[in-house]
């Protein structure tokens, strides 16, 4: 392991990017071996914000542990909570009322849109464009307002509980969602004007960070990053949960395998999520928003696994239960960690300036990698 700045015996330069570096979006530490400007090797170092969430969960009950997952991938915290709630429901065989299912999907898709929009701004900022970041926050703020009104918090919602959702939707919810759909249809062409067709952006992303289909599968890359390499991996389509099978939406795929196609996949995914919102926002069934559950939840003895599609890829929740009120062991298969593993492969032989673009296109959220 190479620890310090210097040169190797072959005369290659070793530099550290991070842990305090604006391009890494957090405290990711990359040790880069450079031959001139060409990257020979990237070694990510983790552990700067390790909070031992998995170990913490072992001392929390099945109602309590859900809130910790909001702190993993904070940009898709709703979907993380959803995965945990699904696991408890699977273990206890709780039927979720149809109203709660629809509210959950609506919230998930709003989270996905907000996450992709923020990523769009951050990606453009990584490549030197400052304006898109503010445009992105304008729309994201509207979605955060919806979350604040219905869930009570803007980022770490903790709205999904075993058996349904914590509270019924706010009376303004449907009107607000329709407003945001209208706003997004008006503003998404602006996004394309600013970034998608921009020559500088295209020149810096096209043909860079090639990840073939085989490599994407072997590194375990999931989510939009893998779908841009032609891997069909959308959990919403392959292993539908919570009534996604009844909805009409496309799994966005691309075969460009480069940074630009990863960008395009996410931009089309925003539109797919909007179409899901349109299908559901007027069709929220009446009924309970939460199934009746016991005060103390005890999962039967055994192993349980559920997976959900977060904005970054597949989140797997694995629980070993010994029949008590707390899990014996919890493991989260977070999408960010596997996506980061492919970074070394994708950047070999590329220029150091492109490393930021490739890393940005993977949509890394560091607390998700380093739980």
């Amino acid at each position: 392991m190479i620890e310090e700045i210097g040169t190797t015996e072959q005369g290659d330069l070793i530099i550290n990017v991070g842990p305090q570096h604006p391009a890494t979006h957090g405290v990711l530490h990359l040790v880069i071996t450079l031959n001139g400007e060409t990257i020979k090797k990237i070694e990510p170092h983790l552990g700067y914000i390790h909070r031992s969430i998995e170990k913490m969960c072992e001392s929390l009950t099945y109602r309590q542990f859900i809130y910790t997952t909001s702190r993993m991938d904070y940009l898709s915290s709703h979907i993380n909570n959803h995965g945990c709630a699904l696991l408890v429901e699977k273990g206890l065989q709780i039927e979720v009322p149809p109203r709660a299912q629809v509210i959950r999907i609506l919230m998930d898709e709003l989270t996905r849109i907000a996450s992709h929009i923020l990523w769009w701004g951050a990606m453009a900022m990584d490549l030197g464009a400052m304006t898109p970041y503010f445009h992105a926050f304008r729309e994201r703020e509207l979605i955060n307002d919806i979350m604040e009104e219905t869930c009570g918090a803007r980022l770490t919602m903790n709205y999904q509980v075993p058996g349904g959702v914590m509270a019924d939707i706010h009376p303004n919810f449907q009107r607000r969602v329709k407003d945001i759909i209208k706003q997004l249809y008006k503003k998404l062409p602006e996004y394309d004007e600013l970034v998608t067709g921009n020559t500088i952006f295209k020149a810096r992303t096209q043909g860079i960070g090639y990840l073939s289909k085989e490599d994407a599968i072997s590194y375990g890359v999931t989510g939009p990053s893998a779908r841009a390499s032609g891997v069909s991996c959308d959990i919403r389509k392959l292993y539908p949960y919570e009534g996604y099978e009844k909805l009409n939406f496309q799994e966005v795929m691309h075969t460009g395998c480069d940074t630009y196609s990863r960008y395009l996949v996410r931009m089309i995914e925003i539109r797919e999520s909007i179409s899901i919102l349109e299908q559901l926002v007027d069709n929220i069934p009446e009924g309970d928003y939460q199934a009746k559950t016991k005060a103390v939840l005890k999962l039967p003895k055994g192993e349980f696994y559920t997976r959900v599609e977060t904005a970054r890829g597949e989140l797997g929740v694995y629980v070993v239960s010994e029949g008590g009120t707390t899990p014996y062991r919890i493991k989260f298969r977070s999408p960010g960690f596997s996506n980061l593993c492919a970074l070394d492969h994708m950047t070999r032989g590329q220029k150091i300036g492109d490393m930021v673009a490739i890393m940005g296109s993977l949509d890394l959220v560091i607390p998700d990698i380093d739980r």
């Binding site: 109602r63 542990f65 602006e190 067709g197």
Partner: protein
């Protein structure tokens, strides 16, 4: 052939830059579409939604009575040990001992605003307040006693 491609590349590049700059120029000249709010200048007009989770407070009525029976359901529901309830034994009019809350200690510095205590409370004694400016100069100021001094349990709450 090479020259023709080169010129069309340059023309395409200039066109795409112009499209982007047009959008930027549009917002530069349309000040009404700016949505930034000037915090803290807008404190007087800032309205937070009623469900916003700022901190846990205990509701008291005009007779300085609360609804907390000291059942510790919130203490058990809390994932972080934020709430500590100190109970005492009151002697009521008939001379019987009755458990009552002495101190409802709330550690704001440990709280993650997950709303689980509010959900667990069987008597709706606590609720979330819409405050959000929690900065203080000393950490000990964040440990609060939620029941007011000399407050009593409201009649009829079991």
């Amino acid at each position: 052939m090479f020259l023709k491609e080169y010129i069309s590349d340059v023309a395409g590049a200039l066109k795409s830059l112009f499209i982007g700059m047009k959008r930027t120029g549009y917002y530069f000249t349309h000040h009404k579409e700016i949505i930034t709010e000037q915090y803290p200048d807008n404190r007087a007009t800032l309205v937070l939604p009623e469900r916003f989770r700022g901190e846990v407070v205990m509701t008291h009525n005009e007779n300085n009575e609360h609804r907390c029976t000291g059942c510790t359901a919130c203490e058990l529901a809390c994932p972080n040990g934020t709430i500590k309830i100190v109970t005492k034994f009151d002697i009521n009019a008939e001379g019987k001992k009755k458990k009552a809350v002495d101190k409802f200690v709330y550690h704001l510095e440990l709280c993650t605003m997950c709303n689980l205590c509010i959900q667990a409370c069987p008597t709706d004694a606590i609720k979330m307040a819409q405050t959000f400016e929690h900065s203080v100069y000393d950490r000990s100021l964040l440990t609060k006693v939620l029941n007011k001094p000399d407050s009593k349990l409201q009649e009829g709450v079991e």
